[in-house]
Structure formats: C-alpha cells, structure tokens
Amino acid sequence: MSNAAMQGTYLGEGSGLRAWLLTTDHKRVAWLYLVSLTAFFFLGGAMAVLMRIELATPAGDLVSDDVYNRLFSLHGIIMVWFFLVPSIPATMGNFLLPLMIGARDLAFPRLNLASWYVFIFGSLFALFAVAAGGVDTGWTFYTPLSTLYANGFVSTAAFGVFIVGFSTIMTGINFIVSVHTLRAPGLTWFRLPIFVWTLYATSLVMVLATPVLAASLILIVLERVFGIGIFNPDLGGDPLLFQHLFWFYSHPAVYIMILPGMGVVSEVLPCFSRRPLFGYKAVAMSSMAIAVFGFLVWGHHMFVSGQSAYAGVVFSFLSFCVAIPSAIKVFNWSLTLRKGEISFETPMLYALFFLALFTFGGLAGLFLAALAVDVHVHDTYFVIAHFHYIMVGGMVTAYMAGLHFWWPKLTGRMYSEIAGRIAATVTFVGFNLTFFPQYVLGFDGMPRRYHTYPPEFQFWNVLSSGGAVVLAIGYLMPLFYLGWSLFRGARAPDNPWNATGLEWQTSSPPPPHNFETMPIVTRPAYAYDMKGLEHERFSPHREEAAR
C-alpha cells in the first residue's frame, strides 16, 4: 500500500512492522485490532461450523461429547470476549471517535496502544487453553462445575478473559474522557453523531460492569488454585452467588455488544435515505437508558435457578422495560426511512438486514422475559436463536455495515459494490436459514449443549446446518473482495457517500493528525435536509471517466 498516493496520509507514515507495532495513532491501533479480531472471528466461527456439522445427524458421530462440550465453550468464550465485546468499539470506534468529534487523537494515545497489547497478552492465555485441550464449562464458567468438576484449562481461560477485561476498561476510559474533553468547537452534546453517543454509553458499561466480571473470575481462580471455597457449598460457599455476579456483568455486556451496532445503523440509515435521523434526542437518550436498564435485569438469566418468585417478577418487569428504549430506536429508524430517497448500497443493505434481524431477535426477548414462557424454553435452542439473532444478526451485521460504510475512509479504496451486495444478501439468507429453525427446535423442546438429539428433530437441524454453510460463505466473501480492494481497489474520494459527519470532511485516508485545519461545527448531526449537500453519490464509472 505504500505507494505515492498514500503519501501524506496516516498509511504513508512508515510501513515496517515496527512502525505499526509501536504506533500511537488511533487509526493504526484500530487496524491492529481489526486484524486480530478478524482472526478470532474466523477461529470462533470454525468451531461453530464443526458443531453444526456434528448436529446434522441425530447420533454423535463426528465428535465425542467431551470434544463437543469444548467446542461450544471455546466458541462462546472466543466470540464473546475476543470478538463481540471489542468488535465495533475497538476497530471502528477507535478509528472514528476522534474523527467524529474533530480531535487529533484519543485523549490517551499510549493507553490506547497498551490496550491492544493487553488484549493480545490475554488472548495468548485463551489460545493456550484452546491448544492445550480446551475448556468444557460453557462460556459462562458456572460454578460448581467450573470450580469442582471441570477438568479443562479453566483457570487459564478465565485468567485470559480477566486480562482482556483490562483492555476493555482502558478503551472505555479513553473513550469517555475523549468525548468529554476533546469535542471540536461548536460540537455540543446534542450535535454528536449517534455513533458517538452509543460508544459513550458502551464505555460507561465497560468501565462499570467489567470489574465485576474480574471479581468473579478472580474468585474462581482463587477457588481452583488456592482452595478458597467461596462458591463451594462444602466449604460454606454459595454456587448461585457466582451466577449473580457473572450476570451482573454479562447482561450489561450484552449491551456492550449491541449498542455500538445500533450506533452504526444510526449513521448508515440517514445517509442512504438522505433524511435526518428521526427523533435524534430520543435515539441518543434511549442509548443511555439501555445502558442503565442493562444493570438491573441480570436476574432474568436465573428464573429457574431457585431465586425467589418476587425477585423473578421484578426482574421480569425490568426486562420488559428494556424493550421500550429498544423499540424507540427501531421506530425512529423506520421513520427515518419514510419519504427518503432510499438507495441500496452495501452498507444500507446490511443496515436494513440489521433492522429486520434485531427486531426479530428482540421480540423473542420479550417471550423470554415472560416468566412462564421462560420456564418452558429455558436452556433450549429458543434461547440460542434469540441471542444469535441479536449478537450475530444484529451486531455482526452492523459490524459489516460499518466496515463497508467506512472502508473508503479506512483505506482510501472502494470495494466491489456488486460483490458487497451479494455477500450481504447471502449472509442474510444464510443467517435466517441457520437460526430460524432453532426457534422451532427450542420451542419443541430441544435443549442446548448436547451433541446428540432424538431423530424427530433432524429436519430442522439439517436446515440449520445447511444454513451455517451459506452463512460461512457470506462471511468469507468480504475477506476476499475487501482484501483485493486493499491493494487494487479504485481510489476513494473523500466523501463517497456524500454523508454528513466530520470524518467525511477530511481526506480518505485521513492525514496522521486527522485534519489539516481543525474543524468548527455549525450544524446539527445528519443535516441531510440542509442546502449545500449536493445530491451526488460516488459512482466508479464517473470516476473512471474523469480520469
């Protein structure tokens, strides 16, 4: 990539390994994360594919039950902590937050680089746990299984997750402080792009919830290594206490995983319908509401754990409350589209698929928040389908939307629009084919985490496994056409989508310190209805003709 055209951009500032590994430029740190997270995504994905192949037949013929336990545990651990939690914040958030607020960098550039090294250090523990034989506790490390009975490398994996937590907290602090102290002149809180609002809400959750996970993982390691029996009933401990602590982190973590995706969609939908975001303040505030409610609903993971019926009713009620800010967002996104000049470029396709899949997954969440229904479908494939609709159908789809939307800014290159649209559609079809059957299976009573099942479930399982193959193709395609674009793609103009937002006012790719002259903001976000934005869009053919 180091050719003449990249001179004067952040990509032209030295191309050696040293220049990348010792950089404190937030844009380059974002690339470090992007490369490592992509590796983890495909590692975790490969485990999912192995599981789906095993589940194509009712008998356990491909892998033993023990190996299957390790597969789903590592799939969960890798996907949650080594992909989903850092996914959008550490890559696109890192790259775009300073650009969007008109700053030269994050508040603490060295802390930002350090967070990547901490992430890599923690991930080495996790990879060692994989290589050495795996973990069979599930990603939740439930006690007493994880402390007394599990024979995998629980301490190693838990320690890896514990360390990665520090990296999350570092990123969170950096984002919060940057948003407070580095906004450009004129960029008031209610002129911030929604993506910044969601990163801010996410960072709050990261900073306040991750330490609780750290505490519970420390206690697990203390129990396994030092014999302090805090979760061991024989020693007077309480195994359920772990579930309370774990979900106090892990439910807010669900919002760490989805809020940034909501932010991306809030950027993409107005741009490709040429309309200001409908109900800006409501969307911004609903992000904060989700972050707050997220701390109050952990008990809905424990409806069948024997907690008191009163606690169950309260947690059920609060869980329903989360639907309100989520629905506010969905309605506002839908109304943004109304009377818009909608065009279906790749990022828009992904964003619309997000809208559909998130809504569908969210509605299933209402089923699960209802006490009686949850008792019926608890620990079945219904739950699996629900959270995959949110995490994969929602977050990963939004991740792809953001990656395509900002790819010209990240690289200075365009990708193949046709390939992008095909990949988006293949992903959508593959996703629904994989996970919709799991709703049916779960409702019919197929429990999660088993490698065999009664023959009457085979029809839906075969559909789901077939869908997994389609989905894998949908995720592998961008690896090739985006990789190709990185070296051979057409040069991108500074603002290929004719979008608002400070990140589009600088060059593509941006110069090392982001802006040649520091910007001053005079408009609200998403001023797509204001004069001065010509209604032209990048078209490769026009660029060719101009050359």
Binding site: A107, G172, V177, V207, L208, P211, V212, L245
Partner: protein, 211 residues
C-alpha cells in the same frame, strides 16, 4: 501543542483536567471491583453472622488498628506531597512521596507478620494448609478466613501497585517537567487515597463487625 504529553490536547491545562477526570473514571471502575467482593462478603455475613463474628475475633485487632493508623498517616503525607507540588517545593515533594511509599511498605510488612501469625495458628484455609479452628461452626469460619485472605490480598496488591508507581515517579523525577510533575502527583494521589479508603471500609467489616 507545546507542553502536552498527548497530541490530542491544545493546552496543558486541558490535558490536566482530562487526566484528573480519567482517574476518577478509573476509580469508579475500581470501586465496582471492590464493591463486588464486599457484596460477596456481606451476603455471606448475613447468612452466617454468628460464625463470622466468632471467627472475626481470631484476627489481630492491635495489628489491624496499627495498620489503619499507618495507612491514614500515608494519606496525610500524600496530601502533603500534593500541597508541596502546588507550592513548587520540589525537594519537599520528593520527601513526602518517599514517606508515603515507606508507610505503604510498613503496612505490607505488618500485614505479612499478621498473615504469618494466622498461618501458624492454622487459620489459613488456602493451598491445603492445615486448618485448625477451635471455635464454633468451623465450616463457615473457614469461609470467613477465605474471604479475609482474598479481600486483604487484593487490597495489598493494589497497595503494591501504588508503591511501585510512586517509586518509579521518584526515580524519574528529574526528567519530568513541572507541569507533568503536578499531573502525576495528582493522579497517583487520587489512587492512593482510594486504596486507603478501601482499607477504611475493610477494617471495620473484617475486624470490628459484631465484636
């Protein structure tokens, strides 16, 4: 951009404000970590109050009280260091910082003596050491001592972190510009006071409750 450590800031004043704010956010995060552990302790205490009260009497109140006094004094010297920095009395600042970390080391030594005493009395249910507790309800007393070691060692780790940072700061003192000296003293000071405050909660909860 002159005088700022990070290129993101225009003036050292803004950078100092950001530093200070970041430290408070970090302390909020740390408070959640200790909050979770305190919660575990308090839940267990509600369940097994009498056993915990009896076990608590086996901790050394004199040593605990002495250590509390040591840490509060270290907070005082830390506050002095901050004051001296504002007055640009650099020599005095270094002495106050050195006194702070020395008091931190003193706390750790006394804590170590306390641990040694508890281990020799068979009150340490860790690493398969013999547990010889003579009081009532030994199972839940064991949980008490487990929590005691978990909580106090987590606090000690934080204190060690603070001592290391202060030692590093003294070692690099000459290379540090006056503006950066103030930023660092303020940041470390906040952290040090926070670790003290944790102990101020830990001491009554572990040593004094139901005595």
């Amino acid at each position: 951009m002159s005088g700022t450590e990070s290129i993101a800031f225009d003036t050292p004043q803004r950078e100092r404000r950001a530093d200070n704010f970041a430290m408070w956010v970090f302390i909020g995060s740390e408070a959640m970590l200790f909050g979770a552990i305190f919660l575990v302790f308090l839940v267990a205490h509600i369940d097994f109050g009498p056993a915990f009260a009896a076990a608590s009497k086996h901790l050394s109140l004199p040593l605990g009280t002495f250590n509390t006094a040591v840490l509060i004094t270290s907070s005082f010297t830390m506050a002095l260091a901050h004051r001296f920095t504002l007055q640009r009395r650099w020599h005095a600042t270094v002495w106050a910082l050195a006194a702070t970390s020395a008091l931190g080391v003193c706390f750790l030594v006394v804590k170590g003596i306390e641990y040694g005493k508890e281990i020799s009395e068979g009150l340490a249910p860790v690493l398969d050491l013999p547990f010889r507790y003579a009081g009532p309800d030994p199972v839940h007393a064991q949980l008490f001592f487990g929590l005691y070691f978990a909580m106090t060692s987590l606090h000690a780790l934080h204190l060690i972190g603070g001592i290391v940072v202060i030692a590093g700061m003294i070692a690099l003192w000459r290379r540090c510009s006056p503006a950066n000296r103030l930023r660092r003293v303020v940041a470390v000071g906040l952290y040090w006071h926070f670790v003290d405050v944790i102990w101020v909660f830990m001491f009554p909860v572990l040593y004094l409750i139901n005595r």
